[in-house]
Symmetry: C2
Subunit: 219 residues, 2 copies
Amino acid sequence: MPDNDTSRRESIRERIYADLRRRVRRCEFAAEDRLVDVEIARAYGASRMPAREALLQLVNDGYLVGTSRGFALPTLSLQEVRDVFEVRKLLEPRAAALAAANLDEASEGALDGALAEAHAATRADDVARLIRANVDFRDAWVARVRNARLAETLARFVDHVQTVRREMLGCETTRLVVLEGLEDVRAAFATRDPIVAGDRMASFITCAERAFFSARRSA
Amino acid sequence: MPDNDTSRRESIRERIYADLRRRVRRCEFAAEDRLVDVEIARAYGASRMPAREALLQLVNDGYLVGTSRGFALPTLSLQEVRDVFEVRKLLEPRAAALAAANLDEASEGALDGALAEAHAATRADDVARLIRANVDFRDAWVARVRNARLAETLARFVDHVQTVRREMLGCETTRLVVLEGLEDVRAAFATRDPIVAGDRMASFITCAERAFFSARRSA
DNA sequence: GCGGCTGGAACTGGATACAGTATTCGACAC
DNA sequence: GTGTCGAATACTGTATCCAGTTCCAGCCGC
């Protein structure tokens, strides 16, 4: 999501917020990590206040939860994961349809790049890299959704289920489901057909959801 | 939206945030009003910091925008209003369907109460009261949506178009569309049938959207 | 050795202070 | 009277400090 505020130079708080969010989205933190404002402030060469405000903003977004001892990644119950999937099924097919009608050469290139990177990461068995490729793939097509509100809402929702992303891409079997799904979605976007893209996205989400819960059950 | 955090007593920031949001939702501020942290802090008997944090939180939620001179209600372009309606059309019918399957006596009572209040406000030609009744009606059924994430997202989206709400309930002709729509939706909820409720909600949103844009064009 | 108490450390929440910037208003020139 | 420049003002953003709370570890009683 590009910064829509070009005029004013970004404040320290905004810089910290953007960077932390990027890192959370890329699963750079573990579930047991504790983000503490003083440490973050020190890392960015600022005082506690902007760091604290950035963390509170991330809590408000649902990216983190505040505990009595530092800020941490939220742990989602199965019901919450189900809820998120339900909302995704409502929003993403339409978003994909809008994006398909609005793709350009550059975005298709970005999609292909992310897909190639995902395969390379899989061959190299590098989960972190695979996660990054996954995020990049999403960003590439979401950027072409004209409806900014829809795009933003969608991005937040997907990012909230970090545990799901990490789990799915870390596990051998579910990883294949995701990779296949990405290929499918990529092919659908190639047609530039909103109907095809929407349908394919819907089935992708359904497959991913099924794979996730079946993997959870067997574990 | 009930406070899901029962254990910890609420902080000053949370108190200010909740109260300001309630007031924004009820259209208690005009478009030209400027919310300034020092004034708010004084009003709540606190220092600038919690007030400022609450305001930033509201900005992050989309309820306000920060300007160089105080915080203000956002002014939405026609395209943004269209975008919001598009997302609402994706989410609300499903939400209404879920709520319909989960209604109880108390919520139906609340719906009836809000509806009666809306009619009374209309007779008294009290727009502020009508807006409150409208918000109460929404809150009553949204509270019965089991999917908390869906409910929260929905609430935010609707609240973002305060200008729309105010405009529609302030204008004679569109007001009638809303009142009729509320009656319709109420009747649909009475059936407790998810299909009926979803369909009726979808047509309500469509009607409201059409009425809004047609009123705008003629003005 | 084991469970409850106590002190301290670590962290959040809030207050106050200070710096930087944009807006506004007034004064002065034309 | 009008346009422009500049200073006062009012606001945001950041830093530092203080208070309160919670968690943990170490200690004492048993």
